[in-house]
């Protein structure tokens, strides 16, 4: 039977020759990721074992990854205590893929997992974070689950009662015009689909534009697939995936198995997009699908510009920002906050001079982590303030203040706007 990538991965994970949309299966998990919310997973995991007379033991410590990134270094004693509890658990259960708050191995989970080679094409990856969809960029089926669901995975090693989702095929052609990036493409797609247009469905990305895109760009597409409600986003693994895994992530070619969809696989919907005339896009408050071309928003005052997150904190993004701000100054009354997505990126950006350039221009380079994206610390907004951000969500209250506004954009729009103090098209400058 012809299958999509998601169907092939679920069939293999369930030990079945094939599956079809709507089938309910129990699937073996290849990689299970958590961040600070591992504290809640631990709580639920212990609950599962309560009154069983059995000592709680995770099913396979080599398949569990825990990355501290959401509130690093801890912003409160409560967080610090949760992080301490996680460290003790990691030690006790001998979990190897643990990334603490460190300059050598730390960073945001959705950057650390790919760059450490933990994710492979064909893997079934689950994470207690909705942006786990990011890992589909490497040809894996990856999605977010809740903490109790993760406790169940830690216990059994399987995902119980998974319903095989239908797949939407998105075919992208055309060359990006200068100043337009994968972030603009995914914002445009979310605007087309709406915030729930892909609910309970997988998005498979195809077309020459995706084939020619770097892994960094593909990570952006899959990261934000969830903002259209998608269960997962997947880019079929190809030469670029292999180049990234071997060249950047230290994976041996023997450990890479490329899975592609069957040519006659069934897609519930097909969407064609030509990016050759796509202008930069902006997602306006307070919904990620409230997307418009930049012209209608040019000139809007901004108070804080944020570059970073699991969406756009990669080396390519910092390179764009450094190129645009080099020799200029961040506008008065604007705070430019930059969060590299991992410490490896931070070190690379340091040696390439990007960090120095950004700081020289007046930007503030923060430690890698989720930073102000989720509104906990490191850059909350004041009442009535406006943030322009390369992150992935702009819900009311997202950056810690329901009386503030968040606009989403590419790193190029963010950098150009940081210099002028108003939303600015990077193609024309200030």
């Amino acid at each position: 039977m012809a299958m999509t990538i998601a169907e092939k991965i679920l069939a293999r994970a369930a030990g079945l020759p094939s599956v079809a949309v709507g089938d309910v299966v129990e699937a073996n998990v290849d990689l299970a990721m958590s961040h600070e919310n591992a504290a809640l997973v631990i709580n639920q995991f212990v609950e599962v074992y309560r009154d069983t007379g059995v000592e709680p033991r995770v099913w396979d410590p080599s398949r569990i990854a825990i990355v501290l990134d959401h509130r690093v270094p801890a912003e409160s004693s409560k967080t610090a205590t949760n992080q301490k509890k996680i460290r003790e658990f990691v030690h006790k259960q001998a979990i190897g893929k643990f990334h603490d708050i460190r300059g050598d191995v730390g960073g945001i989970c959705h950057q650390v997992l790919p760059e450490c080679g933990y994710v492979r094409p064909g893997y079934l990856v689950v994470g207690t974070d909705s942006h786990t969809t990011t890992h589909g960029a490497l040809g894996a089926l990856a999605f977010g689950i809740g903490a109790t669901e993760m406790a169940s995975v830690w216990t059994l090693g399987t995902l119980l009662n998974v319903e095989v989702p239908p797949t939407i095929k998105v075919v992208v052609h055309g060359e990006f015009p200068p100043g337009v990036y994968p972030k603009d493409l995914i914002l445009h797609l979310i605007g087309l689909l709406s915030a729930e247009g892909a609910n309970f469905k997988v998005i498979e990305f195809h077309g020459v534009t995706v084939r020619n895109m770097s892994t960094s760009g593909r990570l952006v597409l899959c990261n934000m697939a969830v903002e259209a409600g998608a269960t997962a986003g997947i880019v079929p693994a190809d030469k670029e995936t292999i180049r990234y895994l071997i060249g950047h992530a230290g994976v041996s070619s023997h450990d890479i198995e490329v899975i592609t969809p069957d040519p006659d696989a069934y897609y519930v919907q097909t969407i064609d997009i030509d990016v050759s005339k796509l202008p930069p896009q902006i997602a306006c408050p307070h919904s990620v699908d409230n997307v418009i071309p930049i012209f209608s928003m040019e000139g809007r005052r901004v108070d804080q510009v944020v570059v970073g997150s699991c969406t756009n904190g990669r080396l390519e993004d910092l390179e764009v920002v450094a190129r645009l701000v080099r020799g200029h100054k961040v506008a008065r009354n604007v705070r430019l906050l930059v969060f590299p997505a991992s410490w490896r990126i931070y070190r690379d950006a340091l040696s390439k001079g990007y960090i120095g350039t950004i700081v020289e221009a007046g930007g503030v380079v923060m430690n890698p982590g989720c930073g102000c994206c989720l509104g906990v610390h490191q850059g909350a907004l004041g009442n009535g303030e406006v943030a322009l951000s390369t992150t992935n969500r702009n819900f009311k209250g997202r950056m810690g203040n329901p009386e503030a506004e968040v606009y989403l954009c590419s790193p190029a729009v963010a950098a150009a706007s940081a210099l002028t103090g108003v939303i600015t098209d990077p193609r024309t400058g200030g």
């Binding site: 609950e47 689950i145 809740g146 903490a147 059994l156 998974v162 319903e163 409600g229 997202r398 810690g400």
Partner: protein, 180 residues
């Protein structure tokens, strides 16, 4: 008779239900205090215990979109609320079922203060004298609902697995003995 205590629109996000700044609070016993924290008056009523258990929150499409944070489901469960929405986001729906928060998929015409009555497979708005049919939850999740949540369901699966392992080792022990 349960009442509609909060009426919301489409795309109610997990940041709306449980703001990110309270995410360091994780235990289901502690999260309810922050339910709808940025809806100050409603949050106040919840925390004063002025909202009776079984009360209903009504919303449109895609309730619970955004983050996978389970606090968004546990905080509502802690106040014993029921959520009726036209549709739910995948992760929120799974979290709700896993924790035993009552969620109902239905498109209903209701305002705050309306009195509701649960009928078999239907919901009656007593105030407006209108009856609405309910959509079923995903069949894949029914056994989790029946077990009373995912913790209990997983425990059941764990015990099955352990007893199978035990039987296997007993059987293999017998074989070894017979070989001797």
């Amino acid at each position: 008779m349960p009442k509609v205590v909060l009426k919301l629109g489409d795309n109610v996000s997990t940041d709306d239900i449980y703001p990110g700044r309270f995410m360091a609070t994780v235990l289901p016993s502690e999260t309810p205090q922050y339910a709808f924290a940025d809806h100050a008056s409603f949050n106040g009523l919840l925390n004063q215990r002025a909202i009776p258990p079984g009360s209903v929150v009504v919303a449109g499409n895609n309730f619970g979109c955004g983050s996978s944070r389970e606090q968004a489901a546990s905080c509502l469960k802690g106040h014993d609320l029921t959520v009726v929405a036209r549709s739910f986001s995948r992760i929120f729906m799974q979290n709700a079922i896993n924790l035993g928060l009552r969620i109902v998929v239905a498109s209903i015409d209701a305002s705050e203060g309306d009195e509701l009555e649960w009928l078999d497979g239907r919901l009656h708005n007593v105030t407006r004298n209108k009856t609405h049919s309910l959509h079923s939850l995903p069949k894949a999740r029914q056994s989790i609902i029946d077990a009373g949540g995912l913790v209990a369901y997983t425990r059941q699966k764990l015990l099955e697995k352990l007893s199978k392992q035990k039987n296997r080792s007993v059987r293999s022990g017998v074989t070894e003995e017979s070989r001797l």
